[in-house]
Point group: C2
Amino acid sequence: MVLMIKEFGDINLNDFKNDFAYILVIGTTDISLIPGITIAGATPELTHFTPAADAEYIILGKCKSINTIPVSPSGIPTPALVTRAALSFINPLKLVVNAGSRVLPKIPFIDLQGEPGRDIRKYALSLEKVNSIIENGMKLGEELSNAFKVLVIGESIPAGTTTAMATLAALGYDAIDKVSSASPDNPKELKRRVVLEALKSLPTDLNQKLAKVSDPVLLGVASISLGFKGKVLLAGGTQMVAAAAIIKELNKNKIHDIVIGTTKWIIEDKSADMLGLSKQVGVRVLVSMLNFSISKFDGIKAYEMGYVKEGVGAGGSAIMAFIRGITNEQLVEKIDELYQKLLSSNA
Amino acid sequence: MVLMIKEFGDINLNDFKNDFAYILVIGTTDISLIPGITIAGATPELTHFTPAADAEYIILGKCKSINTIPVSPSGIPTPALVTRAALSFINPLKLVVNAGSRVLPKIPFIDLQGEPGRDIRKYALSLEKVNSIIENGMKLGEELSNAFKVLVIGESIPAGTTTAMATLAALGYDAIDKVSSASPDNPKELKRRVVLEALKSLPTDLNQKLAKVSDPVLLGVASISLGFKGKVLLAGGTQMVAAAAIIKELNKNKIHDIVIGTTKWIIEDKSADMLGLSKQVGVRVLVSMLNFSISKFDGIKAYEMGYVKEGVGAGGSAIMAFIRGITNEQLVEKIDELYQKLLSSNA
């Protein structure tokens, strides 16, 4: 039998067999409007619709803010498909949390009263909104502790790896050129140029630093984790390393309750250094060894060629399914089924 | 031993021993601005701050939108105090749901994307927003079914008994002069005048009727209940009969999963007819036989003289505490402790 989960660090998998809630934190950064920086949307303008549409697909099984699910310019579908398929075997409570999105999803969602992220080369967020997201996020995490022992927290924010790189670098980590990308051709030059410009004239105060170069989703993910009393699976790639770094900055001990759950495509991404970054921050990593080569659809198989890789909590959700005995075959069959349904509804 | 819960209808109390989530649905109606119609706020203008402040008190133990907790013109404190005290023995997950409030609470809350209720003598809500509240509320209820077998749903909307009377009458019930009041002197003439004017030129379509004469909270409470798959305790007074009537209108069978949980002060209110209204709608009722005469504080003892009576899910929360073995003495002691804390923090 192929082992479907790889562990990096000393992790007790039983912790994650408890009932959990799945939290999707959504937001936007205006960095996604820079042509070529992200493929999380068919055009730069459409990237601002992606988080709302991802959230709608997770909750409703269909999108309302756009006609179909988010796709890359070449038509590769959002990882929300993987998440919805994986969670369908478990049926946890799913909550969408808006940390700051230009487009609001047409579903019930929890609002942290943040704001959309602006351009990090100028100033991403107001200090007031940084504080609001952190305060409300911590309160939400604390409240969720009354009902759950585990949270799985996913994210949807196009260009989030660029703000993650800026945030990690601002916090003193060796992160330049080490974050991943939804594209098989990581636009590293462009990202580096944007990040280096953003890092000029960096404030010294922590919250001011975060206001300057981070994004609402990183702050939302970190603060919900900080308030929560149980174990947290940060479901995502290199962005979640930045979230973990913020958590550590605000509460050093909390990092022991945190594990990142991601996909093999992130780990295998030679244009990035997921495990090296995680080691720097001191956060443990679980990897779901998904294999999409058995899919019936080219759009899904494309993940094996480095398209998309991760997002919307896909890797972490797959881990939760695998821990509960679901096989890769079952999961891919479910993904194919959901994808087929989408193709026919658009026909 | 004094029996702390009275049952009206065939109710299995064991249903309510399961883990539950407490949901507070907040909203406003411009009817609360009519002088003399409600005492849920120190002035008519302040009634629009009451739901936000109630929500903040439930989640944070303090208010942010106003300096202290909501009080009546004569200083009697909000029933949020009773709710927070009762729930402190159980620690359920508490979620605030905004169905449509003029003032937004400074806490994380779930948004149903409704709107504040306008004057029912003109038109309370747009049909679009009625549909949005119902759709999002049902989805939220459905999602909560993944984690809970029971919901306790409370409300905060000043002047909500007037819109409840209008809604019940619009749905064909004999409700004029039969709803309760937070005041010991129920302003029945005024309420009747407002409601009768609102009922003129009533549309025939159900959702249009609700748009004309109801309020966002009634719709939020009803729709969350409709989407939820387990048992629901509608924690409130005559307003919850109106919510139950909407539930029945939209799904006749659902009424069998619904029980109203209220206080003895509502049942004993001779200016209203809680049990008669409940019988008309066919919804069962549980009553918490709270006794505040043993309190150390006049502001709390005032409940025994018919002030406030109910709200913010106080009666239902007390029922959940009583079912779990908490005594009236323990509850009142806790209420006194919380009230003392508020008095000292304002000193």
